[in-house]
Symmetry: C2
Subunit: 199 residues, 2 copies
């Protein structure tokens, strides 16, 4: 009975299972919250409950939302004929933070993986093909991770869209902004060299 009460102990154990946290950081957070129990802690409890009850997946794109269709899918300004395909919602959020993309998204929820027995149907790829061929889409941007599974998935989708008049593109590969050549891996350097541009 180290941590004060059964509830506190259960809370520490639950917190410690969150990604990026362990027993030590969980204890630190719980103690911090107990100190702020009338403010921050109650607020956090309320928000967690509300988000747990109200969150669902956008029926169109798979984004996290609190309604049937997410704000991006219902925003008429974003119907510009471009669909950006991402692996998961974290990637969608990352792209939105960059404010570089004005179209709509499609969240696969993973990548093809022979090892984990994840096939096209598990990722709703047929639904994606159907969606992009129905709604006046001009371009599908495959913003998948530059991993083996990500690139396999990108190739699969690109092949499935062959023969349609949809342009399929992928993110450029090269030196990250602020990146130093000395610290980059060989693969990135040669990709950046192959894709070199006139300046």
């Amino acid at each position: 009975m180290t941590e004060g009460s059964d509830d506190i102990q259960a809370l520490v154990a639950l917190m410690a299972r969150l990604p990026g946290l362990g027993p030590r950081s969980a204890r630190r957070i719980v103690l911090h919250l107990i100190r702020k129990r009338t403010g921050q802690m109650s607020e956090l409890a309320k928000l967690l409950d509300s988000v747990a009850v109200n969150s669902r997946e956008c029926l169109t794109c798979g984004n996290v939302t609190d309604r049937d269709e997410c704000l991006i899918c219902t925003d008429p300004a974003r119907a510009n004929g471009e669909i950006c395909v991402v692996e998961d919602v974290a990637d969608l959020w990352a792209l939105e933070r960059g404010r570089a993309f004005a179209g709509r998204y499609h969240v696969l929820g993973g990548t093809l993986s022979a090892l984990d027995e994840i096939g096209p149907d598990d990722l709703g790829i047929p639904a994606l093909i159907d969606r992009v061929s129905r709604k006046g889409i001009r371009e599908v941007i495959l913003a998948l991770n530059a991993t083996v599974d990500g690139q396999t998935t990108a190739h699969y989708i690109a092949e499935a869209l062959e023969g349609t008049d949809i342009t399929v593109t992928g993110l450029a590969q090269g030196v990250p902004i602020g990146g130093e050549l000395d610290y980059l891996d060989d693969g990135t350097i040669s990709a950046a060299l192959r894709a070199r541009r006139r300046i």
Copy 2:
């Protein structure tokens, strides 16, 4: 409106303010919880609410508890005449995990600090002196951090208890278990040398 809904955004912002977390880790945790919203997330909301409502400070020692007096203060087996004085509840938890101490605690809730204008009354040191002189206490162990403020506080309490028949002790200083001399600071090495023991 990057993160799906106002509630999700507020939740990420609140999480990002927890100690050790930032916007990136907060987003990761919130997405993880949304994926497990019917299980882990509701459970976490319930526990946070329960702990926020029920937690309070033990009236005797200042430990976090869900009753008037904590389990350690009400456990007759722990009335061995020893009181261990700690800076905060995290230190008490750390000592309990070590299972090395069988007596009771006193949580100061901080250290004396001229800079932050924290004096003996702010830390309830008069209450501590009163507590240890009333209840058949033989020994007060000052388990305070080996920082300047911690050691100042330790000296203040030791002086305040001078002239009573209570033994005042402090934690031993020396090489941590598993510690390599090469990586230790000079202060620790000379403290360990001064306190050397026959083996």
